[in-house]
Amino acid sequence: MQQGGGSETEVTWEDQQNINKFGRLNNRFHELEDEIKIAKESNDNLEDAGNELILTDEEVVRFQIGEVFAHVPKEEVENRIEALKEVTCKNLEKLEEEKESILAQMAELKQILYGKFKDSINLEED
């Protein structure tokens, strides 16, 4: 946080709580970005797996369960992949929603804090 030029703006407990909240939201925002990236990768992998499955003409596919590759009939693998894709998709949607909400809250807090402290506070990413 940038140090101001010796201004005497008083910082109230409410201001402090707003600053704390902004910090927390910012942290959560970065965590979310990472989680969204992982979820997107996972989704892509499942897509690729599904496509490979269509191309293959083997009846039994080695499907990873835990640390081992179980021999599973193609149909069951298709179903499992579909189920996993749905779960990942829903998760991704939820994460994106949370991200939007956090961005909105951060924008609001920025307005309040810049309004009171103007140049004495810096809320941008360095």
């Binding site: 946080m1 140090q3 101001g4 030029g5 010796g6 201004s7 005497e8 008083e10 910082v11 109230t12 407990w13 402090q16 600053i19 704390n20 910090g23 927390r24 942290n27 080695r62 369960i65 835990g66 640390e67 081992v68 590759f69 179980a70 021999h71 004495s120």
Partner: protein
């Protein structure tokens, strides 16, 4: 290191699970008079507190990473046990390829089984029935998730205390700059 404060009401929690709470400063002048610190000692004290918080934060983050690795592991185990249970009724053996060593795989045929062995850590492995194994794994998963939640709350609390301390440092510093400016201004007024 607990400084007694009466008038500056710290509405914050005083501490959480061994992490001292950062005292919110209503007014810098009052804070300095009460603690008896001069500006430099106050800044030194606050900086030291900040370092301590950073240390605790690193420790908690390491624990967080551990738990976040443990949870998917337990979920994978549950998956395997569920698969074995599903195969039970069919009378077919489950054929799997497993890793013997890095890059080398072998094939195993797992027949109908009522029990599995679980690795409990510390070189101990116990045999459980499938149901008991599932129950144990679920319990472990729930405990891990609960611990993670508490840990995340601790980290949030810690980050708040760090922010409060950083803001207090900035305010004490600014107050000092302001005081110096006032002192510089008054001698020139006397001369005129």
């Amino acid at each position: 290191m607990a400084t007694s404060s009466s008038s500056s009401s710290s509405e914050a929690v005083t501490e959480r699970r061994g992490i001292p709470g950062a005292q919110f400063v209503e007014d810098v002048q009052t804070y300095l008079t009460q603690t008896g610190f001069d500006v430099n000692s106050a800044l030194a004290f606050l900086q030291e507190r900040l370092q301590q918080y950073k240390l605790v934060e690193m420790k908690l983050q390491a624990q967080q990473r551990e738990l976040q690795a443990k949870i998917p592991d337990i979920e994978k185990c549950l998956d395997v046990v569920a698969t074995l249970q599903a195969k039970k009724g069919t009378g077919e053996a489950l054929i799997t390829d497993f890793e013997v060593s890095e890059g080398i795989y072998s094939r195993a045929s797992i027949e109908d089984t009522d029990s599995v062995c679980l690795w409990l850590g510390a070189n101990v492995m116990l045999e459980y029935s499938c149901e008991e194994a599932t129950a144990l794994l679920r319990r472990n998963l729930d405990n891990a998730k609960a611990s993670l939640e508490v840990l995340l709350a601790d980290l949030q609390f810690l980050r708040d205390q760090v922010t409060i301390t950083q803001v207090t440092i900035a305010r004490v510093y600014n107050w000092d700059v302001h005081q110096r400016r006032l002192r510089q201004a008054s001698p020139s007024a006397k001369d005129s």
